[in-house]
Each structure stands twice: as C-alpha cells, then as structure tokens.
C-alpha cells in the first residue's frame, strides 16, 4: 500500500522527462572530483523570516532550519515519521492521550549546552505559551510536557491527536538551546542555537545567512562542508544564471522552463513533486459573492469541467507539475488510492452552464496574487472558462493584500495554494472545516467537519486513509475548491554532490560535498 503510493509519485516524476526521482542522497551523474571542505552557496527563492522556530512561518525558513536546527522527528520519502533528535518513534497510549518520547543521549547543542529532556520541555513550553507563537495552534492538542528523566519526556494531550508526530517533525519539534533562549529571549532568532550540522554565524538582511560547520554536532564526521551560505535571490532566472556561472552551488525552485537549458549546460537538476497544492478557492457564501458560482454546485462543477488541467500543466509549467484534484500529495501515505478526477469536458461544461438558467456569460471575478506565474495560470483559466460561457475577469492584487481580501471573503474565486503538510490533517483541517481560519471558501459542512476531526483522532493508517477518502468525496460534491495541481520543484546543483532532496522538497546539506 505504502509502496504503491510512493511508486505513483515516482512514476509521475519520471514521466516528467527528468532526472532522478527524489533520492537520498542524490548521486551526481558526473564523476567529478570531490573537494574537501569549502562553503556551499545556496540560493533561496525568498528571504526567510526570523530564524526562531517558535514564530517562524516562511517555507524558506524551514529550508534554513535544516542546516542548524534539528527536530525531534523528520520525514522520509513517503512523508513518514523517522526519529531525528528522538531516539525512536513516539509511543502513544491506548487512549491516545499520552505520548512518550525517548531522546537521543549524550548529544550537544551547537553552543555546547547538553541536549536533554529539560531542554525539550523548555522549547515545547515556549511553543505553547509565547504570545506570538505560531506553533500554538499546531500543538493545540498538547496539554502539558513532563520530563520523565534525563532522556525521556511525556506529552499529555487533551484529545487523541495523531498529526502530533508530524508537527514534531516540523518547526514545533525543533529544539532550541536553553542557554541561548535565556540570553536572547524574544530575540532568539537573531542568533539562534540548536542541534544541527552547521552553526549560525551571521545574517545580512536582504542578502544572505551564513553557517559554519558545528564542532558539537553528533554526526560531525559525516559533515564534509566547512559551511553553508544561503543567499536570497527572488528571480528564478537569476538563480538559474548564477547557477550556470557557478556563482552559486545550489538553487531551489527553478523555473520549469529553464530546466532543459540548464541540463544542457551541465547543471544537475533534481526535482520533487511538492507536497503543497494550487487551487481555485470558490466563495460559497452568496451573501459575500455575487457570482452565481457561490450558490450553484452545478456551475462550480461546470467550471471544473471547463479546465483542462493537462493543458494548463503543459502551457504554463512546461509539463512539470502534477495535475491533481485533491489536496493530498501523491507521495503521501494517507492519500486514498481511488481518486477519480473530474476531467476536462467542455461540452458537458457548456451544457451545465446553459442548463443553469443564468444569463450568459456568467460573471466570475478571479482574485489572484500579482505574480507572473499566477497571472499566467489565471489567463489560461480565463480563456478555458470563457470558452464554455463564463465571463472571468482577473483581479491581480499584491500578495499580502490578496490574502487580506481572501480572508475577508471579498472575492468570487481566488487562485491560491497551500504549502502542504506532512500530515493530511494539516492540508484539510482549518482549510475546509467550518469557521477555519483558512477556510476562505466559507464552506460549512458538518459531515466534512466530522470526518476530518475523526481522522485526526484515529491512529491507524488505514482507518485514517479511509476517513480522508470519505471527506474528499464529500468535498468533491460541494466543490468549494477546484484543486489544480501539485507543484514540481527543481533544485539545481552545480559543483556539489550529496545533497538530500526528498519528498518534503527541502534540500539538506548535512552530507553534501563540493566537487571540482
């Protein structure tokens, strides 16, 4: 079962003409000579926010955390939990309300502070209590943290909550040095210290963050690089150009359209189907949206029928994304096997539109963040939908303002994605449940609410998969969202080998080596 899911992901990726299916670690095809030491320069697509795991929110910060801030758990290629700072997988009590975690022994933070149960408790308590903690909600089910002994902690939950492990494999499980926390407090992010292969050196706002190899790291023998520098280069073309000129060693999120050329130029490109999705969120509250889509499931269906996901993929993304109609990524173990998408059928769509009795064309205002790719996607969708009788007008708004409008429900349709989580709960709860903060579509369906909350409290994989399957079916009936695709991300490598790039699309440099 599990294997099969992974294979689907792999085949999907392989069919996209390119290189390796996410492999750990990547084998460099060229037989270049390895150089000892050196500093790897990594180009990120954006500037990370604060490097404080308690408050950090950006995806790129997660990338940077892997350099210096290990977590209790990590995820593998199937997005399953593997221990990192924990000694083994968490042990959940029968009622699901206590979780025991054994910790690695005898390891040190990068400032020499011993890593132990106290340190873990301090971090988790901070995540639970700090006003501005973005982790609070992720750990909502966690009631208290108890130090059992030097190397064991026990978590007490208010309700059974199976996504907890996944949360501890993310920023909520990143353990901070108590010494650093004590000195810096709120400003921990300005000079963060955790357990990790590299240690934070300095940060040049707007430009780069520098790390050097840690002397205290438990696996320091495996670490070959002298350091890592993360540079922020927002323009993918420039990331590509710099990669070509070997100004940088690694570039994340390259343009699909650049991949061929880069490959020809001798740059290795790794790709992974990202766990996030892109979709069209439809405002289903007729009091907020004047578009007939708000009140008509049939019209929403017609809209979905009008969209040729494969064409969209080919035209906008050079065939590099994974078209899909559910939020869960293909490599995820909990994803149901029997997903049946509503395929492109313009005749059926036109028939539905005409049957709706609305005056044609049917007006739809499509809110999009003003970014080139979104704009292009929107233009393609506009043409497809207009073809069957919709009148789509595009309203590009600068990203932050667009989120504001989305949150306020001030749109008919919103082209917005979700970065994805290891656990399906993170991809559905709050996004599709009544009153959820990110429930932009204003969906309120008690059945969906029930299925999603039930799935989170069940621990067994099969049962969860089944519940999520039911939820997705129900969601498909209501169509508050038209899921479009999962992004494929491309990681370019120049003169470097041994970079891990796995299912969560976060490159790791622990074992990387520069080549000549």
């Amino acid at each position: 079962m599990l294997r099969r899911t992974l294979n689907i992901g792999c085949i999907a990726a392989a069919s996209l003409m390119l290189v390796s299916c996410a492999s750990t670690p990547s084998a460099s095809p060229s037989a270049d000579e390895v150089v000892a030491g050196g500093i790897a320069v990594v180009a990120l697509s954006d500037e990370p926010d604060t490097l404080d795991p308690t408050v950090a929110n950006t995806f790129v910060a997660r990338v940077v955390f892997t350099a210096f801030c290990e977590k209790l758990y990590d995820s593998n290629d199937s997005l399953e939990l593997v221990p990192q700072l924990a000694a083994s997988l968490p042990v959940t009590s029968a009622d699901g309300l206590t979780v025991d975690i054994a910790l690695r022994e005898g390891i040190l933070f990068n400032d020499g502070t011993p890593f132990n149960a106290d340190a873990v408790k301090i971090t988790l308590d901070r995540n639970l209590t700090l006003d501005t903690s973005s982790r609070k909600k992720e750990l909502a089910a966690l009631q208290s943290v108890e130090v059992v002994d030097e190397n064991n902690i026990r978590l007490t939950l208010s309700r059974p909550f199976s996504p907890l492990g996944a949360q501890l494999a993310d920023r909520a499980g990143a353990i901070m040095s108590p010494t650093a926390l004590e000195t810096l407090g709120l400003d921990f992010g300005t000079d963060p210290v955790c357990v990790g292969p590299f240690d934070f050196t300095d940060r040049v706002p707007g430009s780069e963050i520098n790390f050097t190899k840690s002397d205290y790291y438990y696996d320091k023998d495996l670490v070959k690089l002298d350091g890592v520098t993360y540079k922020f280069i927002t323009d993918p073309n420039i990331r590509a150009a710099n990669l070509r000129s070997s100004d940088i060693n690694v570039a994340e999120r390259l343009n699909a359209s650049d991949v061929d050329q880069l490959d020809a130029d001798g740059v290795d490109v790794l790709d992974v189907s990202a766990i996030g999705y892109q979709g069209l969120t439809i405002n289903t509250d007729p009091t907020m949206s004047s578009s007939p889509l708000a009140s008509s499931v049939e019209l929403r269906k017609a809209f979905e029928l009008s969209i040729d996901r494969d064409a969209l993929n080919t035209v906008v993304f050079a065939g590099q994304t994974t078209p899909d109609c559910v939020p869960l990524p293909k490599q995820m173990a909990f994803r149901p096997d029997d997903i049946q998408c509503t395929d492109f059928d313009s005749d059926a769509a036109r028939a539905l539109v005409e049957a709706s009795g609305e005056t044609l064309p049917i007006p739809v205002e499509l809110l999009i963040p003003a970014r080139p790719t979104d704009q292009k996607t929107a233009e393609v969708i506009q043409q497809m939908a207009n073809d069957v009788g919709f009148d789509v007008t595009i309203k590009p708004v600068e990203f932050v303002s667009a989120l504001d409008l989305g949150r306020a429900g001030d749109f008919d349709m919103f082209l917005i994605g979700w970065s994805g989580r290891m656990d399906p709960d993170g991809d559905m709860n709050d996004l599709l449940t009544t009153g959820g903060t990110n429930n932009y579509s204003q969906m309120a369906d008690s059945e969906v609410d029930f299925l999603i909350s039930e799935a989170a409290s069940v621990t067994e994989t099969d049962a969860r998969q089944d519940l999520y399957g039911q939820a997705l079916d129900r969601i498909d009936e209501i169509k508050p969202l038209i899921y479009l695709y999962h992004d494929t991300w491309f990681l370019g490598l120049a003169d470097i080998t041994g970079v891990e790039y796995s299912a969560d699309a976060i490159p790791r440099f622990k074992t990387a080596e520069l080549t000549k």
């Binding site: 590509a240 080139p372 704009q375 292009k376 233009e379 309203k395």
Partner: protein
C-alpha cells in the same frame, strides 16, 4: 503714413485673428528630428487605434503555437501562451498611450490651476502649497508612484491617478514659475490698469502665454509617464490582465529571457520608440516655441 489711413476711414472692424500657428508649423516642419518624433507619435497613436481592429485577437491563446520566433504568421512571434506578440503590443499601445496622456493631462489640469493661483496670489497660499510641493518632491518619483499604486490597488485608472499625482508637484512648480514671471510683464499690469478681474488675468492673460511651457512639459511628462506605467506594471502594480501592457509583457518575458529574448525585445523597443517619439517632439516644440527664437 497718416495719409494712408484716410482711405480706411469710417470702416469699422471685426476682428479676424491671423493664424499665428502657420509660422510655428513652418518652423517645426524644418526640423527633421521633430518631424520624426511627430511621425513616431502619430504612428503609435494610429497603431493603438487601428491595431486591435486590424490584427488578431491579442488575447487569443494558442497552445499549439507557444513561444514561436517571429514568422510571417506571427510577425513578432508568440508569447508563452501562444498569443500574437504584435497584436499584444498594439493592444499595449493603447494602455501605454492612455496612461501617458491621461495622467499627464490630469496632472496638467490640476497642477496648472494650483500653480497659476499660487503664482498669482503668492502670500500664505503659496507658502503652504510650496511646502506641500517640497514634501512631495522629496519623495523619489518611483517611490511615490509605487506607494500610491500599492495603496490604491492595481488597475489602469489607479495607475493613471498615481502617475498623475506624482507629476503634479512638478507641474505646479512650472505653472507657478510661469505665473510669477508673466505676472511681472507689463501687459499684465496693463490688464490690471484696464480693470480686469483676477480670473480674467489668470486665464486670459497668464495661461495662454504659459502654454508653450505647458506643452513642452507635457511632452517631457508623457514619455516619463509611459515609462512609469511600464515600470509599475513591471512591478505588478499596473493594469489587469488580460489587458496587455508593455510593462506586463516585459515581466512575463523576464522568465523567458534565455529561451525567447525577442519577448523582452519588442515591448521594450515599443516603449523606447514611443518615449523617443515624444521626446523628439518635445525637443522640437521646445525649439519652436522658445520665446528667445520667436522674437
């Protein structure tokens, strides 16, 4: 001399103003650069007006013909969605010219009115207006326009407003300067001696005589506004798709710089040529309308 006058006796007059423009036109026609500028501007105006009628639909996507290099079927090639670049440039010409001309016109109307009033009355009105102008001028044009466009939201109207507002202080300064200079001329004192009202003086005496300066300012401001529109669009603060604007075309072209450089080339050339046209026209008009030379 006085003898000659007697022949015209008892004839009353009905004013027939002579076309003073004839001379200006003649002087203008003698400047090849200025004429080139005029041709470019008129060319682009016609292109903007007729292009969308004569050419194919600029928004028609053709997924079978993506990123095609220039050919007979698509003179300037196709873009990333298989749309005809030539048709889109024609469509973009409308946006560019509209943004350039409308924002400048708006700025001129507001700026001239305020500038004439402050330059004419001076005193505390002038002090306050000039302080505000100083503050506005202290903000670099682009920061001001970007800020305004971000606050107002992206749309052609808002771009026009943002560009207009950011031009206003310059126009006020010019109009005020003109008003203050012309006010000192004796014919204005003559008008006061005639018993003319302030409004009459401002709009019958001062404004027409400052027209040259305003026209020249317009030709300087229009290309700047066209580039401004392109820049705002480039930064994602411009018009809405599928309306094409040269700036937007350049933004998306940026992604294909290596594969399809012509995508970046043609809209840029269009911007540069239009701006060049207005600049040449402006230089020509400046020469022709320069009071030093008309004397």
């Amino acid at each position: 001399m006085s003898q000659k006058l007697i022949t015209a006796k008892r004839k009353t007059v009905s004013s027939i103003p002579r076309p003073r423009w004839q001379r200006v036109v003649r002087r203008f026609a003698r400047r090849p650069m200025a004429v080139t500028g005029l041709i470019l501007v008129v060319g682009f105006v016609l292109f903007a007006l007729l292009g969308p009628i004569l050419l194919s639909d600029p928004n028609q996507q053709d997924f079978a013909a993506i990123l095609q290099t220039p050919s007979l079927a698509h003179l300037l090639g196709t873009d990333d969605l298989g749309r005809d670049v030539f048709a889109r440039i024609a469509n973009g010409a409308r946006v560019s010219l509209m943004a350039g001309v409308m924002s400048t016109a708006l700025a001129l109307i507001i700026g001239i009115t305020i500038g004439l009033i402050t330059g004419f009355y001076r005193g505390w009105v002038d002090v306050i207006v000039m302080r505000i102008v100083d503050v506005m001028l202290a903000f670099p044009f682009l920061i001001f326009a970007v800020g305004l466009a971000a606050i107002l939201g992206a749309s052609l109207t808002n771009v026009i407003i943002a560009l207009a507002v950011s031009q206003v202080p310059e126009v006020i300064r010019i109009a005020r300067g003109e008003a203050m200079a012309i006010r000192e001329q004796e014919f204005v004192s003559g008008a006061v001696a005639d018993g003319a009202r302030d409004g009459t003086i401002m709009f019958r005496y001062i404004a027409p005589n400052a027209m040259g300066a305003f026209i020249v300012q317009a030709t300087v401001a229009i290309p700047a506004a066209i580039i401004g529109e392109a820049t705002l669009s480039f930064l994602g603060l411009g018009v809405q798709p599928p309306m094409s604007s040269w700036g937007i075309m350049l933004t998306s072209a940026q992604q294909y710089l290596a594969q399809a450089p012509y995508l970046a080339l043609f809209p840029g050339i269009a911007i540069a040529l239009t701006a060049l046209g207005f600049n040449l026209l402006g230089d020509g008009l400046r020469d022709v309308l320069d009071p030093k030379e008309t004397r």
